[in-house]
Assembly symmetry: C2
Homo-oligomer: 518 residues x 2
C-alpha cells in the first residue's frame, strides 16, 4: 500500500512538472435568465430640423470625416499627432465650444472641450484622435488619402486608417452636434469632451488628463459617451458596457554575463560553443503557454479572474442568439477557420469576454531578408499584450510573469512594460445606458447588450476614478481596425443592412436628446 502511494506520488510529481496540468479557466453559468433589451421602450423624440440639416449638408459632413482621416496621427511614430490635436480643438471652437484647448502631457497632447448649453444635464464624451501605424503591405489605397470607393461590396465606403477606429464615428458625432446647434440654436446638454492622442500606445497619460479635469468632469451627471460604428453586417448592434484592461510588454534576450554575443552578431559556426540569445528567447516564450499557445502556464495568472456575476450572465444569455447568428460571418471576415479547439456559442463568447489573453504582437532579431545568412545574432525582442479581465491588474500580471520567468531560470530575459491599465465596466441599469438602448429601439434595433468588449480602452478612469458610467453608442458599419484597408460605409448598397453616415448622424441627434431627458 505504501508502495502504491509512492507510485502515485512519483507520478504526480512528474506530471506536475509539465505544463499539461494548467487548464484554461472555465466560466460555468448559474442562471439561464436572459436580459432582453426589447423590453426597453423606444425613444419617442423627433428632431426634424436637425435631421433636415444633416440631409442638406451631407457632402460637407463627409468632407469633415475625410479631412480628419487625411490628417496623419500615428502616435507610435509621432507622425502628425499635434496637427491632429489642433484640428480637433479648432473643430470644437467652430462648433461653439466655449473651451477648446490642447492639454500638454509628457508625450502627445490631450484635447479638452467644454460646451455650455446652460442645461441641467452634462455629458462627458471620450475621444481618441490617434491611429495605429500603417501595415507595410496589404493596403489597396493610400491609407491617408481619404479615398472614397464607389464600388465596394457594401456600397460607397471611405477607406483610410482611422475610418472606423475612431476618427470616423467621432467626426460623425460632431457632425450631429453641429446639426442640433444649427437647427435648434444650442445643444440640450452641456458637453465635456476629453480626447487623448495615445490610445494606441495604451493611454499612458490619460489618467493625468483626467486628474487635471477631475473636478469639472465630476459634474457630468449624464455619464460618459463614446461614439463608435456599432452595427454588424446583419444590421444588429452589439453594445458593450465595458472593456478589458491591457498590459503591453517586451521580452528581450541579449548576450551577456550568462553567455552569448554582447554587442553584435557573430558567425553562426560559433553556435557550437556560444550561447544563442534567440533560442533562449524562444524557450522563455514557450514557457509562458501550453504547446498549442492557448493556455497561459504562468502560475497564478488566472487566479484573480472572477466568475461572471448575475447581471453579466443574464447579458451573455441575452446576446447569445445574436452572437451565434454572427459567428460564421465574424470568422469569415477575420479569415479564421474556427475558434480555438472548435468552440462555439456560449463557450466562445464567454472565453472571448471573460478570459484573459497572452498574445505575441511581434518578434524580430537577426536576418530576415531573402535567402540565407549564417549568423548568431546578439539580440532578439518580442512584443506581447495581455488583455485583463476583472479582477486582474497590470501590476499583478507583470509581477507573475516576471516571477515565472525567474522561477524557470530565465533571469537573463529582460521584461519591459510599455503600458498597462485595468478593465472597466458599467451596469445596464444606468439611466445613460437605458437612454442609448431606447434610441437603438427607435431605429428598429434591439441591441445585443454585452457586459464588455474584448478590446481595451482606459475607461477605468471614468468607472473607477470618477465613479461614472460610460457607454459606447452609434449605428453604421466599419471594419479593419488595426489592419489594412480599414473602412466605414458612407452609403450602403440597396439590400445592405447597415446604416450610412447620414442615418448615423441622426441617431446621435436622438441620443443626445434622449440623455438630456433621462
Amino acid at each position: 500500500m505504501k508502495s502504491l502511494l509512492l507510485a502515485a506520488a512519483l507520478s504526480a510529481v512528474a506530471v506536475s512538472a509539465t505544463a499539461q496540468e494548467v487548464k484554461r479557466p472555465e466560466f460555468p453559468f448559474t442562471t439561464e435568465k436572459a436580459y432582453d433589451a426589447a423590453k426597453v421602450a423606444p425613444y419617442k423624440g423627433k428632431h426634424a430640423a436637425a435631421y433636415a440639416y444633416i440631409d442638406a449638408n451631407k457632402a460637407a459632413h463627409i468632407e469633415n470625416v475625410q479631412r480628419w482621416v487625411r490628417q496623419r496621427s500615428i502616435s507610435a511614430e509621432n507622425d502628425g499627432v499635434s496637427e491632429m490635436a489642433q484640428m480637433l480643438a479648432a473643430d470644437l471652437k467652430a462648433l461653439g465650444f466655449k473651451e477648446a484647448e490642447l492639454v500638454p502631457t509628457k508625450r502627445h497632447p490631450g484635447v479638452w472641450g467644454y460646451y455650455d448649453a446652460g442645461a441641467k444635464t452634462t455629458i462627458a464624451v471620450y475621444m481618441m484622435y490617434d491611429v495605429q501605424p500603417i501595415e507595410p503591405v496589404g493596403w489597396n489605397v493610400d491609407a491617408f488619402a481619404g479615398t472614397i470607393l464607389e464600388d465596394h461590396a457594401l456600397g460607397r465606403v471611405l477607406m483610410a486608417r482611422g475610418a472606423t477606429n475612431q476618427k470616423g464615428p467621432q467626426r460623425i458625432f460632431l457632425n450631429a452636434l453641429e446639426a442640433i446647434i444649427k437647427a435648434e440654436g444650442k445643444l440640450p446638454v452641456n458637453i465635456m469632451l476629453l480626447a487623448e492622442g495615445e490610445e494606441e500606445l495604451g493611454s499612458p497619460h490619460y489618467p493625468d488628463l483626467i486628474a487635471k479635469y477631475a473636478d469639472r468632469l465630476k459634474q457630468a451627471n449624464g455619464g460618459v459617451l463614446f461614439p463608435m460604428m456599432g452595427q454588424t453586417l446583419a444590421g444588429g448592434v452589439q453594445m458593450s458596457l465595458g472593456v478589458k484592461g491591457n498590459i503591453y510588454f517586451e521580452l528581450e534576450a541579449q548576450g551577456g554575463a550568462q553567455g552569448g554575443p554582447r554587442t553584435a552578431e557573430i558567425h553562426s559556426s560559433l553556435k557550437a560553443i556560444v550561447d544563442a540569445p534567440g533560442l533562449r528567447l524562444a524557450q522563455a516564450i514557450a514557457s509562458l503557454t501550453s504547446p498549442d499557445g492557448n493556455v497561459i502556464t504562468v502560475p497564478g495568472f488566472y487566479d484573480s479572474i472572477r466568475q461572471p456575476n448575475q447581471e453579466e450572465q443574464e447579458l451573455i444569455n441575452g446576446v447569445l442568439p445574436a452572437w451565434e447568428a454572427n459567428e460564421a460571418a465574424m470568422q469569415k471576415s477575420l479569415g479564421v477557420d474556427k475558434w480555438i479547439g472548435g468552440m462555439t456559442g456560449r463557450e466562445a463568447i464567454t472565453q472571448y469576454l471573460f478570459n484573459t489573453t497572452l498574445n505575441m504582437d511581434g518578434i524580430w532579431g537577426g536576418y530576415s531578408g531573402p535567402g540565407t545568412k549564417t549568423i548568431l545574432p546578439h539580440k532578439f525582442t518580442a512584443k506581447f499584450d495581455s488583455r485583463l479581465v476583472p479582477n486582474q491588474t497590470p501590476d499583478e500580471s507583470e509581477r507573475l510573469i516576471r516571477a515565472h520567468l525567474d522561477a524557470k531560470g530565465f533571469t537573463d530575459i529582460k521584461l519591459t512594460r510599455l503600458s498597462g491599465y485595468p478593465p472597466a465596466q458599467s451596469s445596464v441599469k444606468e439611466p445613460l445606458v437605458q437612454a442609448v438602448i431606447g434610441t437603438y429601439r427607435k431605429y428598429g434595433i434591439t441591441p445585443s447588450v454585452m457586459p464588455r468588449l474584448a478590446g481595451s480602452a482606459p475607461y477605468y478612469v471614468f468607472t473607477d476614478i470618477l465613479k461614472m458610467p460610460i457607454v459606447s453608442a452609434g449605428i453604421g458599419y466599419g471594419a479593419g481596425a488595426h489592419a489594412p484597408n480599414e473602412f466605414i460605409v458612407i452609403d450602403p448598397k440597396p439590400g445592405t443592412k447597415v446604416a450610412g453616415i447620414t442615418e448615423a448622424e441622426k441617431f446621435y441627434v436622438d441620443v443626445v436628446h434622449a440623455v438630456a431627458k433621462r
Copy 2:
C-alpha cells in the same frame, strides 16, 4: 515489490518525456599523442624576381583588391553578381589564362579558368566571388567603397564587405600569380580555377559546376588550393583540413485549417478565441533544444556523429596549446564573455569542431516598430542553420527535424530547406598539405593544423566527388566575416605580428612553387 517496480516505471516514463535526458555529445580522446608540424622541413625555394615584382607593384596590387571589393556581389539579393563574375573572368584573361569563361547555372554563374603552363603538376583553385548582405547598422564606412583606414589599431587596413571573406585573399593570390608570370615567364604549375557566386547561399549549384568540369578537374594531380587570410592576431596560423557541412532551412507558422488567421493580422483581443501562429512557432522552436538552447532534442540528431579518429585526435592534441593561447582573445573579439557552460581548452575546441549545431539566424513576424501595436499576426518565419559533421548528411538531418516536429504535433509548422551539403576533410599526410605546411615553416610559422573549420564550404565536391585533397592556405590577417566592419590588414603597425599583403603575396609565390615540386 511489484508496486515499487511500478513506481520506478512511472517515474521513468515521466522523466523520459522531458528534454533533460538528451545530452550534448561528448568526445573522449583515446590518445595523448600530438601532431607536430615543426617536424615538417621548411620550404627552401627562393624566387627573388617575383618578390621584387611584388614590391615594385604594391600600389597596383592594392588597387586590384579595392576594385574587387568595390564591385557589389551580394548573392542573396542578386546585387552586382554577374558584374563580379565578369570582372573575375576578365582578370584571368589578363593574367594569361587560356580559358576564362562564365558558366551559367540556374541562378548565379560560375567562372572557369584554365592556365596551361605545360607543367607536370596541375592544381585546382577554389574561389567564391559572392559576399554576404550588408547589416543595416554597425558599419563605420560604406561597405562597398573600398576604404583604406590609415589609423586602425592594427595599422593600415582595407575595410569593406568581402575584404577577408573571400575577395581579399583571392585577389591577393592572383596578384602573386601575376608576379610569377611577369618575373618568370609562366607559372610552374597548370591551374584549373572554378569559382562560384553562391557560396553565401549554401553553394546550391557548385555540384553542377563540378560535374560539368569533372573530367578536366580529375587531372588536377596537385589537389585543390583555397586562398584565405590564415593568421591569428598572435601571428600564428590555424590550418584547416576540412569543413563542416550545412543545412539551412526556414520554419514557418501561419493560420489555416488548424486555426489562426489565414491571410492577415487581426485585432489582438481575438487571442481569447483564436489560435496564434507566433506562439505556435515559439513552441516548435523551443521543442528543438534544451532550455538553454544548447542541446538539440531532436531524437537521433546526434546518432550519426562519429568520434574523432586517431589522426584527428593527434591534430587536436597538437593545436591545443595554440587554441588555448588564443581563446581569451577570440572571446574578446567576438564580444562573448565565455563559451557555453564555461568550457575551455580541449573540451571547447572539440565541441567547436566535432559537434553539430542548431542555430536561429533570424526570426520575424508581426509588429517590430516603436511603441505598441496590438495585433494577432497571421504569419511568423524563422531561419535556421545546422552545421554538419561526419557522418551527418543534410537529408538525414532534415528528415529527423521534420519527424520530430510531426511527432510533437507540429504538423502545422512548415519546414523549407534553402540549402544543404555534407562535410568534407583531407588527410594531413597528403603531399599538397605537406607542401603548404613547409611553406609556412619557411616564414617562421609552425601552423596549428586543425582537422577542420567550424564553418562550412562545399569542399565535398572535391573530397567526395573528385576524390582529391583540398587545403586552404595564406598568411595575413582579416576579421569581421559575416559582420559589420569586415577588414584585412594591408600594412601592419610596427609590433603587430601579422603579415601585410606584400608578404602574403610572396607566400603564395612560394606555395605555388612548393606544390610544383611536391
